[in-house]
Symmetry: D2
Subunit: 327 residues, 4 copies
């Protein structure tokens, strides 16, 4: 049996969730029709300031390769499958179809082509604001029923197609703690965030994307085990006040779900409920932070221009994307 | 019957193609193993200079929505299809599956999820350097046979996962000529490019992405007709020397194939052969340049930071992406 | 705006629909839990009798090829796309991946492999009993809400995985009337059915699949136009009483929707409402009746063993299949 | 490195393979253009005789459900994924799209719709004759290069769209040996086949489909482990002469690859090489033989009309299908 979204089922931690929602919700903050949530923290001033961080001309991808070697263990979120509908081997063998449109012999011209089948939440991605519901609603009180088989009529990822350019700050908690990877189940605390930021010499400012490195993607690479859906280090539910106070625009980690698993209260993904649904913060998941972590450790610069626009998939709950740090 | 890629089939314009290839090929220019082509024109200096163009904090998407209303007329390149594997209506109806992992009742938590099926060349995209072959080879002389059913072993789009951050220049040829849309079949000349640049007060520099607006995507929107594969305005084959001389890193237009159709010589997509295969210039196609065109006309600024990283799809011939202009 | 399924919107023909439902519904006839509907008319006796029709040893497919040349004009029902994930050209080029499992060199062994992406309703298919709803319910009063993003919990096509072996009777109405194809918009009447059956020397018996040839699939082949979704000849709504009285188990035609379009009353697909939802008759659509039509005309035998099991796709609304006539 | 298909790599068992091919190949037997292989053993006489076996009116599916609970462990052969593009929950919530074509309010009409994504070799299936190559060729000497990214130009599964109606004989080796499931690695011998047939009172005749039950699908159901691709009981390579002598038209088992794994010689799937490639026998794999096994044990009748037509997927290497036994 499944429960109705409006059932009031008491659970351990219910009071904390209620309290955080009461104090930190952004519903209505940017108007009743707002679908951008915490991305509203990023205005022209923030974009310009972020671009001003580019001093070395480095460009670093934080996107995990999209292929069958990814972390998905099957089920409805399979790994991305890219299929070739035209190949060079066919062409070389003289087997590629004649060109369309009466072009006659190709005279040497050939091509390849492909089709991608991917769950939007399978690789490095944004969870959009239509991805999670709480008690019948998504961010800003929009009816969860706006997400039908035709997609999300509100808060679909495409509404943010001209967003996700902002200052990114890498808090490399794993490196700060001197470990390759935080332990699965380790809840990253406010103290961890502050101590890492202090050690890195950065501060979190309005409109930042907070990128937290746990080391998990890189230590599990190629031997994923229960990476996807299993125990993981991640943000504590109790970082919610800190995220609110710092006017964070987006968060991302190198784990499947951003927040610590198992969860700290008896609710599935409570930080999603508080921060994504109520603060309107998009969650970046399964990012590959190895290269950016090494680079920041090497040059001592943990802030950068983040460019991480989603694909403008109409009505999508999320989007695969290739987040780029520019330093 | 199909011809072998090594057949020497004489055709009208063969001499031009041979001449341009002889003069403007970048094969070997950045080493025998190079897979990045003209993107090598973009070094740290270019990235830093591009970021310095950000003064107003504007972020403008040039990505066409990925959905069934796109321009694809069927066949092996269908429009993108995003399918919901979890919906809000199910959740509200109490029909969403119980949470995994022994979580029991969801207590109010719900989610949506989706799967995208899309030809990589269906919406706004990059043609990667494994997409086109000439006489058995792709860029830099790599064997076309490196592109198998498993994907491209060389020049797959993922090799450029940390590229495509550069200066973008919009040459709004349609607006410069005072038309909503250039006529299908109109070949944009070097003179057009120079005159438009002059009128806009911009010059093309090493490592720029040249973005040419014809007006086609926006004038056909919603009534695509033969947009995809049919006659189109576009770059003349004879812009090839100009592209080479200006050290252009990438080109993009708001048409399906960047170059004018019908083609000016009796070869299918000859500019692809010269510029993509031999200069190593990636082609951005089916971009939506309406908003950027209007914005540049309004503020008189036609240069910007372009951020247009592809999805890191291993071995892909191209990638859908959401090109972003930051001004 | 969309209307609620329980809205009572008066329309032209409402009285007829109500009357037919009142008289001919099979809800409850085979128990409150029945999900097979009119397929219950096919018992062991009918199966055995159908097999006894096999006298010549002929096997004739009525399945349209599943490929990109099908009749789908795009949108969410694209044509079937079969993509090769391993090819002979790769293998011949020595480019096929080494075998898995430590087999080392393949020594001459190669393979091809493929992935099919197809709307279940795109080619020759069965509409299952979860495909259509009326006023909130599917066949036998099951809640339409049983069909979620996870599929149909009731009346999914897989419940009939051991069904669809029965007597098939081809009523070749087009040939009987001496035309290649009935006119789009032509409603096939009870009189047409009776006259065709009489001319063919067949009678319809309990548990038969009624296969009605209009000539449309074959006359539109390769030049589909508005075949899919456009005007079509087909069964009149007013054949409903006849279908009920003859205990028909299934119907199929060589058109996209079995019933005449435009519809005879101001309701979309009213025969689906009466016959599929209320009688529980599965509808076979987009069948290719050219070969069976020619064969029956040649040998004068219009009855056969029909074998047309669906794929056992769990929870599917329908299934592509390859209906086979054995004579 | 991969080897060329024409490399002559000596291996243990090479002599046996050469010998079997020399003695038992059917290449040319039915003409140089034949693409049907051993299905040619099934003529009108065999079809009629098979239909005459239907005496009880029983219809039994041997198709495994096509869903995410199947045996595929990931990689390029994922489990079938059926996605709903229209649901009853949407409809009930008044969220289903208005009907097309100017129909206005639906007045109570609703529907569900779905899209299937499935590797053709993921569930119960036929391996067609384009699926396996040996030394550059498929069945009847056709060039392996006929299988391109566009599909198989020869021996695609659609050539057999009007085939696969024949006598089926279940040899329930597991039950005959008194075990739930034969041990993985157990090679079923000619003696096993003969003894089982004798115990069951059946003989194999020209044009039969030989269906061999090992018990594996049903004992692994829901807990598949390495079912797919791992060790398995199956036909010995040395049943090849027996298959040839008995003019078997098709074989099928309840394992992933029909033949015993690990293989008996140092070649991957040697029975495929001998029997599929050279005799032209299609292989049915991953069938679900639990119900038919129980039924045959109960009534003592191990022969039946088999109806197992593939989907007519143009150029496919194989096809999912729902094999039906009619008794």
């Amino acid at each position: 049996m499944v429960s109705s979204p409006v059932d009031e089922v008491p659970f351990r931690g219910d009071d904390v969730i209620r309290d955080y929602i009461a104090k930190f919700s952004n519903w209505g903050r940017w108007g009743a029709e707002d679908q951008l949530g915490a991305l509203n923290h990023v205005g022209p001033e923030q974009v310009t300031a972020a671009a001003a961080l580019v001093r070395q001309g480095k460009v670093i991808s934080m996107g995990l390769p999209l292929d069958l070697d990814g972390p998905q263990s099957g089920g409805f979120r399979a790994n991305p499958l890219n299929m070739m509908t035209a190949t060079g081997t066919d062409y070389l063998a003289g087997k590629q179809d004649p060109l369309p449109g009466g072009f006659g012999p190709s005279k040497g011209f050939g091509f390849s082509d492909d089709v991608l089948v991917t769950p939007n939440q399978s690789g490095s991605q944004w969870d959009g604001l239509a991805h999670i519901f709480w008690k019948g609603q998504m961010y800003n009180g929009f009816d969860a029923g706006n997400v039908t088989a035709k997609g999300a009529a509100t808060c679909g990822i495409e509404v943010a197609r001209s967003k996700f350019v902002m200052r990114g700050v890498l808090l490399d908690v794993a490196r700060h703690k001197g470990v390759d990877c935080l332990e699965p189940g380790y809840a990253i605390t406010v103290e961890d965030l502050d101590a890492t930021a202090a050690a890195e010499g950065v501060e979190i400012r309005t409109g930042d994307a907070l990128i937290v490195r746990t080391g998990m993607t890189e230590t599990r690479r190629g031997n994923w085990g229960d990476y996807n859906g299993g125990p993981a280090p991640g943000l504590s539910l109790h970082t919610a006040p800190w995220l609110y106070e710092h006017d964070v625009a987006a968060i991302a980690t190198d784990t499947w779900g951003c927040e610590v698993r198992p969860n700290e209260v008896d609710l599935f993904q409570p930080l999603h409920v508080v921060a994504l649904v109520h603060m309107g913060i998009p969650f970046g998941e399964i990012w590959d932070l190895q290269a950016i972590g090494e680079d920041c450790a090497a040059d001592g610069v943990h802030e950068f221009l983040l460019s991480a626009a989603p694909l403008p998939i109409t009505g999508a709950a999320g989007s695969p994307m290739n987040a780029i740090a520019v330093k």
